[in-house]
């Protein structure tokens, strides 16, 4: 059977080559369809990779706590209340907590003899770098002792190193933040790319002990009440997150005089909930893209069916002749089915090339990442073949059922 199979393909190729323009136009529909499916799937895959990357590091096992802004503004009865240092220490001691950091930040100028530069001054602690996936580049980090002694030590982000020190080694240098002199004790390596930074400069910051920031720079109520703007808590793994959330809810309610029935005046973002939302979004996106691709393939398939029906009509006499020469119905069926399949297979291959070409031309821009995995190519190509079989069958079947006498007489 190998030789008749080859001859089928050869004959089909010959009859398609007889009408090159028509064949090309028919193929165009499928080429666009396959390129669309292939590109869509590749974009879907790229997006998924981005989401998975953003889940790297501590992000995937993080809980963030904020005071609730909205309630404070709209209701006189319960004014806006900040978080505080004492509750953070209690949360850090909870079982399953690997790190718990607080953040209190203000914009101040960083001043040296040569220049000044406005930066985000963050009052932090020894857990901050780890909880935010930062790494120390040089010198040392802020310690618990630094907080206790309210040391005037500063750890610089890369943007500050570049703009204040011109890239020179800054550890040991003296700077002023506002009017307060600080000593640079370390620098932080460039922030990792997460894919979702949206052009924000994530390296323009100076880390100082939180106690020092309150005492020497912010002052006022912050100093009196030991305020912290937000907590970021990292669990030992994802499974403990829900339990940590319950425990910290209890701690905050007790500290803030709320019963279990009261609406909380703080907000907790548990990343495990976010993660499900991400997965959901991803599924919807994939489904949407796949649907668009399939619609374009179906449109292409209808084009193939249309042209095959025309071809069968045009070649009615040839079909009658072949039948009189001994062609079985199955021979006629496979003759036309092979033509439809050949159109779709050739278009499929070209479509894959076009889809791949689009990605290398960078038409999607930097924001859209495409991954052309072999599975995706096989899936896109397979759908083209399926279109060939499905839409080629009806014309091929009607050809195989022609009455030979009438077919031979057909003009």
């Amino acid at each position: 059977m190998a030789v008749p199979g080859l001859r089928l393909v050869f004959n089909a190729f010959g009859s398609l080559a007889e009408r090159p323009m028509r064949t090309l136009l028919t193929m165009l529909g499928i080429i666009i369809g396959v390129a669309a499916v292939y590109t869509m799937l590749a974009i879907g895959e790229g997006t998924q990779k981005k989401i998975l990357e953003s889940l790297d590091g501590t992000q995937a096992r993080s809980i963030t706590v904020f005071p609730n802004w909205t309630r404070g503004r709209s209701s006189q009865k319960r004014p806006y209340r900040r978080l505080n240092e004492a509750d953070l220490l209690e949360v850090r001691a909870l079982p399953g907590v690997e790190a718990a950091t607080g953040n209190l930040s203000r914009e101040y100028p960083v001043i040296t003899d040569a220049t000044d530069w406005s930066s985000d001054i963050r009052g932090t602690d020894q857990d901050y770098l780890f909880a935010n996936d930062f790494e120390l580049e040089a010198g040392r980090d802020i310690t618990e002792t630094d907080l206790a002694r309210k040391e005037t030590f500063a750890v610089l982000g890369q943007t500050v190193v570049k703009n204040v020190f011109g890239g020179q080694y800054p550890v040991g240098a003296k700077i002023k933040i506002s009017n307060v002199p600080f000593t640079v004790i370390g620098t932080v390596a460039k922030a990792p790319e997460t894919g979702w930074s949206n052009g924000r400069d994530r390296d323009n910051f100076v880390l100082v002990p939180r106690s020092t920031l309150r005492d020497r720079l912010v002052g006022g109520d912050y100093l009196v009440r030991n305020h912290v703007n937000q907590y970021r808590i990292i669990g030992e793994n994802q499974k403990v997150l829900d339990r940590i959330e319950e425990d910290l809810d209890a701690i905050l309610r007790r500290s803030r005089g709320l019963s279990a029935a009261d609406a909380p005046d703080f907000r907790v973002l548990n990343f495990s909930a976010n993660r499900q939302q991400y997965a959901e979004t991803q599924r919807t996106l994939s489904l949407l893209l796949a649907t668009m691709g399939i619609v374009s393939l179906v449109v292409g398939g209808v084009g193939v069916m249309n042209i095959m029906l025309v071809s069968v009509t045009e070649r009615t006499r040839e079909i009658g002749l072949r039948m009189s020469l001994g062609a079985r119905r199955s021979d006629i069926l496979s003759q036309f089915l092979t033509e439809a399949l050949l159109i779709c297979i050739l278009s499929g291959l070209i479509g894959l090339g076009v889809g791949y070409g689009v990605s290398t031309l960078g038409l999607g821009g930097d924001d859209i990442e495409m991954i052309f995995a072999p599975e995706i190519a096989i899936l896109a190509f397979g759908s083209a073949v399926l279109v060939g079989v499905v839409f080629g069958y009806l014309p091929a079947h009607s050809a195989s059922r022609l009455n030979p006498v009438e077919a031979l007489r057909h003009e």
Binding site: V3, P4, R7, G14, E18, R317, E318, L321, R322, M323, S324, L325, G326, A327, R328, R329, S330, D331, P404, V405, L408
Partner: protein, 261 residues
């Protein structure tokens, strides 16, 4: 003569009929074609047309039969029945021992491909294939396949005198040459029966004579059974037997062997 013998015979007992029919045919032993009470009618705009009305016919192997009649006489319908291209309303067609009416579609296709060779008025060649490829076409449908197809096709072209034109496209050949290619295509499968439907209808008289001479040669030298349909009495003169049809019936059936020689 064969007509009387089989008239009134039951549908069953085809073998017995075959035996008797062959006994009654003096020249050759086995009847190639045996039709019994063949009828076919079409409804055309409300009225019924009897294309075939009880046609009973026996043709021995090696005969050259011309069927003549005006258009609408039923000769084309008879040809289609013999070719297994059309099914009768009643009656049976037995060709080379096969009851054509009872064959399944796939066996019917094999019957057309292996037992028959068709020659048409309009040649019906594939315009974009050369003569050799056209002649090879029927072999494509043989199961099992024919490994020496090209050699056979070349032999068939040699037999019709076009051995050196194998690589010419139909448009590069004259009408008579095209019909020769079509005859070679009909011969390539070594058929038992050649069915020719107005084979000279599209040719001038000189070319017609050449084609008819070729058919006579094939009949004489190779013993090929030929049934030819024509409305041209001159063409019919080449046959050894002439059957005249009118209104779906056979109205005369005469041997002509002596003159043609």
């Amino acid at each position: 003569m064969g007509k009387q013998v089989v008239q009134g015979a039951a549908r069953a007992g085809a073998q017995a009929r075959l035996a008797r029919a062959s006994a009654m045919t003096p020249t050759k032993t086995l009847p190639m074609i045996q039709t019994v009470d063949l009828s076919k009618s079409y409804s055309l705009g409300g009225s019924t047309v009897h294309a075939l009305d009880g046609v009973t016919l026996a043709v021995a192997a090696g005969e050259f039969v011309a069927v003549i009649g005006s258009s609408g006489s039923g000769k084309s319908t008879l040809m289609n029945m013999l070719g297994g291209l059309d099914q009768p309303d009643s009656g049976s067609v037995i060709i080379d021992g096969k009851n054509v009416g009872s064959l399944k579609p796939r066996d019917l296709a094999a019957y057309r491909g292996e037992t028959l060779g068709f020659v048409f008025q309009q040649f019906q060649l594939m315009p974009r294939r050369n003569a050799l490829a056209n002649v090879m076409l029927p072999l494509q449908y043989r199961r099992p396949g024919v490994p020496d197809g090209e050699a056979r096709a070349q032999a068939a072209l040699d037999a019709v005198g076009l051995g050196d034109r194998g690589h010419h496209k139909p448009t590069e050949l004259s009408g008579g040459q095209q019909q020769r290619v079509a005859i070679a295509r009909a011969l390539v499968g070594s058929p038992s029966l050649l069915l020719a439907d107005e084979p000279t209808g599209a040719l001038d008289s000189r070319t017609s004579a050449e084609i008819m001479d070729l058919l006579v040669t094939l009949n004489r030298n190779d013993g090929l059974t030929i049934v030819l349909i024509t409305h041209d009495l001159e063409v019919a003169d080449y046959a050894s037997r002439v059957i005249t049809m009118s209104d779906g019936k056979i109205i005369s059936d005469e041997p002509r062997s002596v003159e043609a020689a």
